[in-house]
Symmetry: C2
Subunit: 273 residues, 2 copies
Amino acid sequence: MISKSAPIGVFDSGVGGLTVAREIMRQLPNEKVVYFGDTARVPYGNKSKETVTRYSRQIVRFLLSQGVKTIVIACNTASAYALDEIEKEVDIPVIGVVKPGAAVAVQATSNGKIGVIATEGTIGSKIYSRYINEIDPLASVVGKACPLFVPLVEEGLWQDPVTDEIAKRYLTELIDIGIDTLILGCTHYPLIRSTLGRIMGEGVTLVNPAYETARELKELLEREDLLNSEEAKLGDNKYRFFVSDAAEKFKGFANSIIKYGILSAKTIKIEEY
Amino acid sequence: MISKSAPIGVFDSGVGGLTVAREIMRQLPNEKVVYFGDTARVPYGNKSKETVTRYSRQIVRFLLSQGVKTIVIACNTASAYALDEIEKEVDIPVIGVVKPGAAVAVQATSNGKIGVIATEGTIGSKIYSRYINEIDPLASVVGKACPLFVPLVEEGLWQDPVTDEIAKRYLTELIDIGIDTLILGCTHYPLIRSTLGRIMGEGVTLVNPAYETARELKELLEREDLLNSEEAKLGDNKYRFFVSDAAEKFKGFANSIIKYGILSAKTIKIEEY
């Protein structure tokens, strides 16, 4: 029996998943959230399926120990590599960010040409193509790995000529192909959304899976009758943040994304889970 | 009793330490090398002292299990954070890349103004200042963290206008101060040496700790009577490479740095050491 008042577990390789947590907080204001960022082993985007799956399993065990009622894999690479396995292994609902993003891209496209930008891992897994073609076998999906975007975002160059130049190089191919829909397939990318939108031009719809994931989570909780009907009370520890390293640094970055004022993040030894 | 024919253990957070391994192979052609790159947990530069030290200890246990006669910490961040502790804990000689780089910078400077570029971790530790001021208390040391250099190098932009632009931003401060010596305090940086040299100008000496570390290692082995007097024979497995993830990808990058033709790299589970 899962309790409605239990928190939602959200995890990512680091800080990027906070863009997903932020959407969950906006769209589901009654819900408690336990967030885990794997800052000791970040990034996941250039690591193998085996390693990312092993890390994800440890994090899921940690979140289960926190009594969560559902788990959101707020990392595209981990969703691409580990969602299928984890879904089979746990008793509570688990959702990733890839499927919701894929579904809305299919709705958004007019010409059936969808671009995906993401880490090497996510692109290499071809997971977006798989989900998109399950819905629309005729849609054409072109993926482009953009390994420099995460470090550029983490360096704070959200609006910068260098980010512009790198984005132009990465996106030219997708512009030439004539995509009309672009999935921001890495949780860091919404933070450079305005740069990406400007370069792609007005005719291209940008899909932010963070937004769609929160929407799908809401539907899921309604369907399973798991929505928290009570507002959180003061002292409830509504939002709790855990990391595997460097909690202070995480707090700084987190506060630039989430405007709720993150007071503390706790470091845990994730290898022990 | 340590055997002269035992290999030298070299480790790094990933591929960067190969620039150190390459110098060891050049300067000590009789020596066998066991290299470990922690590709599952790379990078170290933005992680905490505690985490980097814990990871380094696991790697040292792995290298000891391979029967190494000495250990080279071929990673500036790990040298900065973990060398002192590891030296106390093992019975064989251990050297890092920081001390040799510091020593040669003191010899190289004329005006006593030394710049250090490195990861956030290395700069934050102030380890280069400490070693330099132990030798020359009057030397003035200015550190500058350059977090984008590692991803730019790994993306292959060794000669590129973007790398130029980012390098100019990072280095302006050091140029303004009038340093005459610049320590490349991260093992990736020698790969963009020509860019850095061009921007700093002819009056500035670039110090590559990889070169100095191999020289110091040679002196150490001579002093301790540990030099391998025999040439390696065919089938000796002279150079062996281990990683914690993505061995194939490692091989590709490694072969662009080391020209010996790395035939194989083996993946091990480093958390189990």
